[in-house]
Structure formats: structure tokens, C-alpha cells
């Protein structure tokens, strides 16, 4: 089995799924002839034509709304938000509309629109091309937020997402697009939502991380192995709703937990996971729950020095783990 990158995993799966299911179409800014600014939809306009790979006007609010309307009709729209930073105009359509159709009609209507959004920093994107938006949207019942971070998980979860009957925010860490490679079998396996994955088995501490930070964490764990520190790494994969059981059973085993995200600290995913651990695994804890996260500034600055200062990385994670280990 050959290795593919994260971006290849997305492209390949989109192509396969569109061949399988004629109800799927994709729309977004520059997704057609250009193949998207990140080239995720490369070659798809040529293969599926302009009726199924639709260049949209520059209007995120209505991109999502159009997806909702098509989903209500019974199609499986995929909406590409060019950068997660620009999803804000669609907030109302995502939160009050897509995520609420089922609840507000007691199950009569539902709007399974799949919203793909490249997010995250470390690429010189400054304030408006680096943001992590997952905490904001994970607050919304009725909307799945997923962030698979390896080719294997991306393929399995993207396939699954196209069969889920609720709206999905599918987050793709843009720095991992070409950085992360891995194996992904070319069959039709799927990975269900709300199932975390133990990316590394260990006994001393549990780290919960996703996106680029998952890979930084795995690197830190590797480093700590030389110091005889054995770290377990949990990738939640689905950020809302969380797979509580996998997180809790790991923490109950290790007694120590660190949560890592690049999204800023306050009310980030780490806050929720820490609260979960505090309320459900309190008696098993040997140390306070720790977090490594982006600082509480509005967004990531452009200058290299400030960007690096903002981004958590393997070094910072390893330092935090040493502290936690020594507690």
C-alpha cells in the first residue's frame, strides 16, 4: 500500500464518492476550473462537469444556505469554505438553520450539508488565514464537528460524513495537507463519528490532541521516550460530540492529562475536556489537568517570530509533559 498525503486523501475520496452517489455535488469559490485554491477539487470539474462542481459567487452566507436548500431537497451538497477564517458570514445559516432544522421540526426536516473548511496556522497566514474555529462551532448541538488528521482517518470519516443525515463541519488542517503522509487502503472502509482513536499507547500520561497538534504531540511523545516517559496520545477525531469513554478510560489508566490545541485557550476544546475529566475521573487523577493552547489574542500574527510564539509545537508540548510527569 502506498502512502498518500492528507490532501490526496480528500481529493481521492471526493472523487470516489461522487462516482458512487449522483446526489453529491460540490460548490465553493474557485472549486471549478481552478480546482480550489488548495487544489482539493483538482480534476473534478473535468470529470464531473459544471453541474456538479460549481463555482460559486463570493458569498459564504449563501454558500451554506444554498447547501441547506439542496440538502432539504434530498441531495448531498458539499460546500467548500475557501478558508475557515471566512466562514463567519455563514454563522447564522450554520447555527440557526442547518443545525436546527431537525430539532425545530421534531425530526420532520433535516439538512445534511457537508461543510469543508481548511483551518489552522503555521503557514504565514496572519490573522485571517490561520484561524482555528472548532471551539465556536463545537458549542452547537445538531452540528457534527470533525477534524480527522491522518490520511487514513480522513478517508474513512469523509466517507462516513457523506452518509450522515445531519450537517457536518469537516475541518482540514491546511498545514497538514501536504505535510502529513500515511497509508489509506483503497477500499470502502469507513470510520464512524464520535469515536476517538488511540494514536499511541502509553502508561504515564494522556495527551488529547487533534489536527496539526496531533502530529506535534506524537513527535513530543517520541522525544520523551528517550527519557523513559511513556505517553498515551488520544485523537478525538470528532470534536463534537466527543467520545467521552475513550478519553476517560485513558485518563483513568494514566492518572494525568494534557490537552493540546492551537485554538486559543479560553473556552477552547480543552476547557470542555478538562471539565469532563474533572467531573468523571476526579478520583483517578494524580495531577491537575493541563492545557497547551494558543494564547488569548484575537488571532495569529503574521511575523514569523510572533507566529512561532503563538503556535504550540513539539517542544512546548514536551516541556509541558515533563512538568506534568514531575508533578
Amino acid at each position: 500500500m502506498s502512502e498518500i498525503t492528507n490532501i490526496e486523501a480528500i481529493t481521492r475520496t471526493l472523487q470516489q464518492e461522487m462516482r458512487r452517489d449522483p446526489r453529491i455535488f460540490i460548490t465553493g469559490e474557485d472549486v471549478g476550473k481552478r480546482g480550489g485554491v488548495f487544489r482539493v477539487t483538482k480534476g473534478m470539474y473535468e470529470e464531473f462537469g459544471e453541474a456538479r462542481v460549481i463555482d460559486s459567487p463570493l458569498s459564504e452566507l449563501s454558500l451554506v444556505a444554498v447547501g441547506i436548500g439542496a440538502a432539504l431537497y434530498g441531495l448531498r451538497p458539499i460546500v467548500e469554505i475557501q478558508f475557515a477564517d471566512f466562514i463567519a458570514p455563514a454563522f447564522n445559516q450554520i447555527v440557526q438553520e442547518a443545525a436546527r432544522f431537525r430539532y425545530r421540526t421534531n425530526g420532520d426536516w433535516h439538512a445534511p450539508v457537508l461543510i469543508r473548511a481548511p483551518y489552522g496556522g503555521g503557514i504565514g497566514g496572519g490573522l485571517y488565514h490561520s484561524q482555528s474555529i472548532e471551539a465556536t462551532y463545537s458549542h452547537i448541538p445538531g452540528l457534527y464537528v470533525v477534524a480527522p488528521s491522518t490520511p487514513y482517518d480522513i478517508v474513512g470519516m469523509l466517507r462516513y460524513a457523506l452518509r450522515v443525515d445531519d450537517p457536518v463541519l469537516f475541518l482540514e488542517h491546511k498545514k497538514t495537507y501536504r505535510l502529513i503522509k500515511g497509508e489509506a487502503p483503497d477500499d470502502d472502509y469507513m470510520i464512524p463519528f464520535c469515536k476517538a482513536d488511540i494514536k499511541r499507547v502509553g502508561s504515564d500520561m494522556t495527551v488529547i490532541a487533534y489536527g496539526l497538534m496531533l502530529h506535534e504531540t506524537l513527535q513530543a511523545a517520541q522525544e520523551l521516550m528517550h527519557e523513559d516517559i511513556n505517553v498515551e496520545v488520544i485523537d478525538p477525531r470528532t470534536l463534537n460530540p466527543l467520545d467521552r469513554d475513550t478519553i476517560l478510560s485513558s485518563v483513568k489508566k494514566t492518572g494525568k492529562a494534557l490537552i493540546v490545541h492551537e485554538d486559543n485557550l479560553t473556552l477552547g476544546l480543552g476547557a470542555e475536556i478538562a471539565a469532563l475529566i474533572a467531573s468523571e475521573a476526579f478520583a483517578d487523577l494524580d495531577a491537575p489537568v493541563m492545557r497547551v493552547a494558543g494564547p488569548d489574542v484575537p488571532a495569529m500574527p503574521y511575523a514569523r517570530t510572533m507566529q512561532d510564539f503563538f503556535m504550540p509545537n513539539a517542544q512546548k508540548i514536551a516541556d509541558a509533559l515533563r512538568k506534568l510527569n514531575a508533578y
Binding site: R52, S62, G69, Y73, L75, Q96, R104, W109, P192
Partner: protein, 347 residues
């Protein structure tokens, strides 16, 4: 595209009654009148229930009935789709939502079929009738309607989508983005603006710098059509033309029905604070229900006995719905937890 002024629809052949010229059967015209009457009586009862503190809220469609009944009869039932708004009591009633359902919504009782008694009243929805659920933020349905029309175009059906909204809501970005999509892709969608002169207390000149909502249509590459929204036959004509155009694949139309909100914005509003009684009285002379009745009488479709019978029937239906809902139980509290997520696919 050059800027064209909105078209006034003119009927020809003065010897024939307008509805005959439009190919509308006498029976259908009378049925339309009946639905306007029933909607009005139901609506009036809702006001009373609020004043009696029986229900928490009412938002009314009084004054909007002519346009709405015309829209219901112009659409192909069970085939076309509608994204209504909160004033569309008459429209959704004529499309098949029952008075009992609407009364259950008023009281927030168990078995309310639109939202399971989660939404406030007037948030119409019925999937089996192709009526898409109304939410409270205004204008959100407009780009959604464009999206459904995109799906229809992609599926090569001859269906159309209609969406309704007030003139004040056309200041929202959703309106402009929705029309932009519809224009670019020539989508089979009809944008039906019910211009009742006010957005709560704001008159139209504080909502837009142009005279008419329809004046904006050329900016989105579609025709804008203004008609008398108090006249049910003229409304039917205008709406039918827009629907036929969409069905032929010629694209969207922005319709603007001129009318007047004959009552306060909602049960929480006092319209005496921002408009004169003289103004309201003047518009009452053009009450769409009175005009429709006059039309039916003048064309020999309705006599006094018939009218009395209609009133009697309407009263019975409204009484039944009111009583039914009043006596229905409240939903069990923990029902609040249901229906957040669908079932996940099994692997």
C-alpha cells in the same frame, strides 16, 4: 441588462370576468375566497386568545390573504416547494396545514405537527406538503430557496420553489445573496415579497432608498414585477406568470405585492405609537377579504345565503380547532431532549 421599470399586469378583453380570462374556474375562485375567509376568522380568534391570556404570542397575516391565497393556488401542490414566512397563515392553510395544527402551535401543545411545540406559533412547516420550516431570523430562507432551486435544476425537474418575505427583510444580506445566486444560475425560484409598508415600526423609506423592492431586480438580472397584493385575481395572474416563467427554465422573478399590515406587527406591538388611525382606516377600505367578497358577489359566485353558510362553517372549524388544542395535553418536559441528532449510519 438595462434597467426596466416594473411591469404592471394588464388584463385584456374587458367583456369577460378577469378570472375567466385567466382560465380560473368559478369553483376555484370561490374556494380561494373561502380560504381567505377561514384564514381571517382563524387569525381573529388567535388575537382574541392572546387578549384573553390563553396564549403567549400571535403574529398575524391579516391584510395579506389575497396574495397568499393566490400563491397557494398558483403553485402545483405536492410538486413545487415553498419557503414561507411567519405571516403565511392563509398560504399554508390553503396548501393543507390544518386549523387544528395551527391552534396546537398557538397553545404549544403535544402533537403540534410543525415543530413538536418547540417553535413559537406561525413557524409553519410540513414536509408532506413541501412546506419548508420557518425560523425566526428573517430572510434566511431566501438563499435556501435558491439552493433548492439549484438542486431542482441539477435534477432536471420542472418543479419550482417559491419563497415569501416582508419588504423590510430585503435589507438583509441573505436577500441580496439569494437573488444573486438565482440570477447567475437562472434558477426556477419565485421571490414573493409581501410589502405591507412596515417592518415593525419602520416605514419603507427607512428600509430602502428606492421606491420599490422590485426596483432591485435588474441588479440581479431578473424581472421585477409589482402588483396589487390586495386583489386576489391580479395576484394570481402575476404569480402564475412568474411560476410559468420559472417552469419554462427562463429563471427567477422578484414579485412585489403591495398591501398593508392591517393590524399591529404582533401581539406585543402597539402600532398607535408610529402610525395614524386615519392611515389604517384608509387601507381598510382596500381590505383584501372585502375586495374578494365584492368580486365574488359582482360576478355571481356568491350570495348572502352562501356567505352566511361560509361564516357558519368557518366558525365551526375555528371552534373545533380552538377546543381541540385547548384540551390537548402539554408535551412531557423531557421531550425537549429529543430530535437533536438523527441516527448515525451503521457500519
Amino acid at each position: 441588462m438595462t434597467l426596466s421599470s416594473p411591469t404592471k399586469l394588464e388584463l385584456t378583453a374587458p367583456t369577460l370576468a378577469p378570472h375567466v380570462q385567466l382560465g380560473l374556474h368559478d369553483d376555484l375562485v370561490l374556494e380561494m375566497y373561502w380560504h381567505m375567509l377561514l384564514a381571517r376568522r382563524l387569525d381573529e380568534r388567535m388575537w382574541i386568545l392572546h387578549r384573553q391570556h390563553q396564549v403567549a404570542f400571535h403574529i398575524s397575516g391579516i391584510g395579506h390573504e389575497a396574495t397568499q391565497v393566490a400563491a397557494a393556488y398558483a403553485l402545483k401542490r405536492g410538486h413545487d416547494f415553498i419557503f414561507p414566512y411567519y405571516r403565511d397563515l392563509c398560504l399554508t392553510l390553503a396548501l393543507g396545514l390544518t386549523p387544528r395544527a395551527m391552534m396546537l402551535a398557538m397553545y404549544g401543545k403535544q402533537g403540534e405537527p410543525m415543530s413538536g411545540a418547540r417553535q413559537m406559533p406561525a413557524h409553519y412547516s410540513a414536509r408532506h406538503l413541501n412546506i419548508v420550516s420557518v425560523s425566526s431570523p428573517v430572510a434566511t430562507q431566501i438563499p435556501q430557496a435558491a439552493g433548492m432551486a439549484l438542486a431542482m435544476k441539477y435534477q432536471n425537474t420542472d418543479q419550482v420553489v417559491m419563497t415569501c418575505f416582508g419588504e423590510g427583510s430585503t435589507a438583509e444580506g441573505d436577500f441580496h445573496e439569494g437573488l444573486n445566486w438565482a440570477g447567475i444560475f437562472k434558477l426556477p425560484v419565485i421571490f414573493l415579497c409581501q410589502n405591507n409598508q412596515y417592518a415593525i415600526s419602520s416605514p419603507t423609506d427607512r428600509e430602502m432608498a428606492v421606491q420599490n423592492v422590485a426596483d432591485r431586480a435588474p441588479a440581479y438580472g431578473m424581472p421585477g414585477v409589482i402588483f396589487d397584493g390586495n386583489d386576489f385575481i391580479e395576484s394570481y395572474h402575476a404569480i402564475t406568470q412568474a411560476i410559468e416563467r420559472a417552469r419554462r427554465g427562463e429563471g427567477p422573478t422578484l414579485l412585489e405585492a403591495k398591501m398593508y399590515r392591517l393590524v399591529p406587527h404582533s401581539s406585543d406591538d402597539d402600532d398607535r405609537t408610529y402610525r395614524s388611525r386615519e392611515e389604517v382606516e384608509a387601507w381598510k377600505q382596500r381590505d383584501p377579504l372585502l375586495l374578494a367578497r365584492k368580486y365574488c358577489v359582482e360576478n355571481g359566485l356568491l350570495d348572502d345565503a352562501h356567505q352566511a353558510e361560509f361564516e357558519q362553517r368557518a366558525r365551526e372549524i375555528v371552534d373545533d380547532a380552538d377546543e381541540f388544542a385547548r384540551n390537548a395535553p402539554y408535551p412531557p418536559p423531557e421531550e425537549a431532549l429529543n430530535g437533536v441528532w438523527g441516527e448515525l449510519p451503521k457500519i
